[in-house]
Symmetry: D2
Subunit: 342 residues, 4 copies
């Protein structure tokens, strides 16, 4: 059985484990104040060319989202997201549990447009309604698509002019940055958004997301907020070391690149077999539309997930590659589709 | 420099890492539904002799506390804790952030007494006040003391008769269970409380707490609550494997025993040198009272933390041993005190 | 200037004030335990033929909604509402501020259908998503429409079979019950829903909503929840007396009937002049579609509100009648439309 | 039976009702934007000599407390109060329900001291603990005592120098201001605190508290927060008119003065009979210590409440006078104590 279920099925990349093993019996300070976390922060600061950025390592993405959003909004303020946004549908109301409404607007291939943000602003006009204060986007999105520099700049400009914070969920940022069609650097992203994170869990780490806060006025007391939500880990060095390993050289980018390459091969082959995609293939998540009749056979050999039904006879499936996806698995999947053309 | 700052300074016990390495490239299901988590659950179920217990692995203690407490209380209900209780002072208002008051009652050596619980019940008498619904205790406590079977039974009986839930924070349960004066088994604890957890972070794991829910009526929908608070980890097998390693044999108990043994040697030596203790030494946390004048010298050689001032000339310090504390460090510390008798 | 802005522009019906004046210097118990509140409860219990119903008087509708919804849901549960539902758009995120997501589904003329509820249930399928537990409807709706017995019964049956609570916001229940096309009695409503309220503010009282809880299992500790949200008024008898006056005879129904009669005359006249309506006219809220060009003139003589734009040339306006709307005002409005036919 | 149970047993002072009756059928704008609310605001602004103060009318005290506190604190911040403070014990956890811890410090006769605030600041020292950001006091306090100018100035200075907000709960501010020993004017209070309210409910109104926000930076979006908590009343003019009546001349002060005068007579007489007081008598709440044996007889003739037991034979009772307390009731109570000397 070959797995294309997600990008968090395996442990960590061996070089990450290697670094953890080397320092295993070393005594480190707790709560993220250790030297490994400091080094990891420095690597990232250098990469984004922001020597004063605050960087915090947080165990998971949902936790990062809920901490960031509740840290910066007053009680009556809301966050705008695409309807497919992770915070809107796949976090069991984590944001609402901190007291804030998620205002969902129709996305375009999983992306939020300036027009959608404008529409949300226009609609919310007085004190009987929540007040938009933050825009949440993910890159890559939940549909595997990415924001171009032009698109991100447009959102940035709109947010700036309307007093909105721009928050980028980068659970799969590695995949976005190393995608062939990408024209944004990590440094540019750090300039264009107010706060974002770099996902480790889905790019080769055991766990961990690196939250980057560039704006000075957003830095105040942030460790209190991490602690209050239970995300200030006693052994903070465990995530610190992993980001140290990911960023002391270009391992982070290599891993993402591998995942993308594997996905690209699959996408090309599937496309060549006559299949269409629910969203344009781009990063390590693919959403081909396949006949329902084909699913039982596909399931015998491969792990994948069902995204949704498109008509009585067809479903969208989700195929995910990762840093650990083997060429053998890819070849088997391609072979399957070549034997079952659309 | 020898470290007695806490029990979470090192990585994981080598046998835990070994198991993780062996299975590193294996593909596992996400969100705790993997075989390692299942095995770890089975080991624990067997140990407590409760084959139907629900067991969830959660990254950290504050997170576990806030999930459990907010899962089982209605909005107007509160939790009773000792004034020294972790949830009362050291979680940045994590419980209040979920909407619930922590009613703090004076503890005796860090322990909550039935009399204190009764007093809280008597005081909260109508709908103008919060309604006590849960009792929170930790074992070992924040002062390193433990509950005897008689003491726990008394709290159990009171809670049962007054309709209160009894929740035991076991961040340092290993140390409590392997303490010389302990007369409670893990099985008995599981019988006497409604919900409790077994701490991994402070007993040799990289991270993770094993939450055990015995009562059927408390099991419903618990995974929703874990997810909502951001604690349902994509790579749940990372904590699952660690508890597998801790409980597939008696590693969990061995590690705690070592920490206790190291602490015991220190306590005996310090006591023999004429020092008194703020709370009776028992598990892996010691609270000797030392002259302030001694602190600069002590700091040159050892890492420890200041607990509080007792008078103009004396302070309570906290010394913590762990599974990784070396005999050499212990000897050095004993030597120091023998050279500086009270 | 004639006012059709809303049904809460005037004070209270004189018979309500009369009763308040008679008892003004009487000493009453606080917090709703006075004889007037008791009498009001008894009148309502008799009317709904539920001698054991719990009835609480709460100052306002938003407060009632947030207390009810947060009282009965666990943290991970959500409430389903029509997209036009008051809790979804016009309460500044009051429900989310208590921690719960409002899942908005497309309504039909402001009404929630069983199909929409089924769709929401189907979509929310695992612990990564909120769990639907309550259905919120308003009668009359935010578009002035009402639920027929058949429609309410269908929602009731669905909720019963799927374990959902059914909550009816009756801020304008008087208008719904006395509407010509209504086929539901107050008694039937009390049977078909789990909890509902009878609006006083918008039907002749100074303030106050009478919340009715029929199911025994929902009654527990409800006064704690009212108090916690700041709605247990010291002078609870102020609202108690008003509901006493409204229900000691049929004043409540008379007032609503008058409002409906005034609206009906307007609707017939406007319709006869060739105007269409955004939602079918039925109760005391009317939503005619008028040329934008007409608005300036209309505004010179009448107060009303703009609901939304329908096209470049037309807008929906909202006209509201009340217990205090005069025949003179109605005649003037009809005259205006007769002079400006569509 | 004569009532000394509280100051909210009767309706409203006749002059308040008179003004409401005069304007009953007038059409007013909703949500506090009516002319009566505007006039009431202007009267209060003039009285405090702050023409730019924001003033909001809110139905009740608990609601006002929870709105103010949650409006100005970030999630990790707490409010410091005296242990007897209303928010700490008598609001069913309303503040915690908005996510914030109430840090209770020992009060002196119900008053919070600068020393207690300093102690709380010293104790809360890092991100593992909540961060003090606001000081809550009530004047008069829950024990009927008042703050002198010197005391309030000291709290003000401390709050200013330590970056804390100072919030004064004035549910019984009228009684404090008209108390014989008071040396603070309303204008001075408005200068010394950041936000406060003037209680109507306990000083002759049917309901309502006038919240005064002087600092510009605290004014932003406050109506959103009122709405979100369900306190933006549709018929806001109902409370507006009442404050108009209370402040268009000196009715507010007259009513409080009467209550104080009645209390003073009782206190002098009881004291002369040899009784001691739990807190020094000062405003309209008295706390004499009486033999338990006397309570049955006292209860036959008078309504009062039991505050707490002081020893096996004595209890503290609470006697409250109001604007509506009659000389006859006072004479009867004095007569009783003169017949039962200590």
């Amino acid at each position: 059985m070959y797995g294309f279920l997600n990008d968090y099925s395996e442990g960590a990349h061996p070089r990450i484990l290697q670094l953890m093993l080397e320092h295993n019996l070393e005594q480190n300070l707790g709560y993220g104040e250790d030297v490994h976390s400091q080094r990891a922060r420095d690597y990232i600061r250098k990469l984004i060319n922001q020597p004063r950025a605050d960087i915090h390592f947080i165990p998971g993405g949902t936790q990062t989202n809920l901490i960031v959003i509740s840290a910066f909004l007053r009680p009556h303020q809301c966050v705008i997201a695409a309807d497919t946004g992770h915070i809107n549908v796949h976090e069991t109301g984590a944001i609402e549990a901190t007291g804030h409404k998620v205002v969902a607007m129709p996305g375009v291939n999983g992306k939020l447009t300036p027009e959608a943000v404008e529409a949300a602003l226009k609609y919310h006009r007085d004190e009987h309604m929540v007040q938009p204060k933050m825009v949440y986007i993910s890159n890559s999105t939940e549909l595997g698509t990415i924001y171009s520099r032009t698109e991100l700049k447009a959102l940035h400009d709109l947010c700036r002019s309307r007093g909105l914070l721009l928050f980028l969920d980068g659970a799969r940022l590695g995949s976005a940055l190393t995608c062939k069609t990408n024209d944004l650097s990590l440094e540019e992203i750090a300039e264009l958004v107010d706060v974002f994170y770099i996902g480790g869990t889905k790019n080769g780490a055991l766990l961990g997301e690196a939250l980057v806060i560039c704006r000075d006025d957003l830095k105040t007391d942030f460790r209190f907020l991490i602690k209050q939500r239970g995300a200030l880990m006693a052994k903070g060095f465990v995530t610190g070391m992993q980001f140290e390993a990911l960023f002391q050289d270009d391992l982070f980018f290599q891993l993402a690149q591998h995942a993308n390459l594997m996905a690209e091969r699959i996408a090309q082959a599937i496309g060549a077999c006559g299949y269409r995609f629910y969203a344009p293939p781009c990063t390590n998540q693919l959403f081909p539309i396949v006949p329902k009749a084909l699913l039982p056979q596909l399931s015998e050999q491969f792990l994948f997930s069902l995204q949704e039904e498109v008509d009585d006879d067809h479903s969208v499936i989700r195929l995910v590659t990762s840093w650990a996806t083997t060429e053998e698995a890819v070849a088997a999947l391609i072979d399957f589709f070549q034997r079952h053309r659309a």
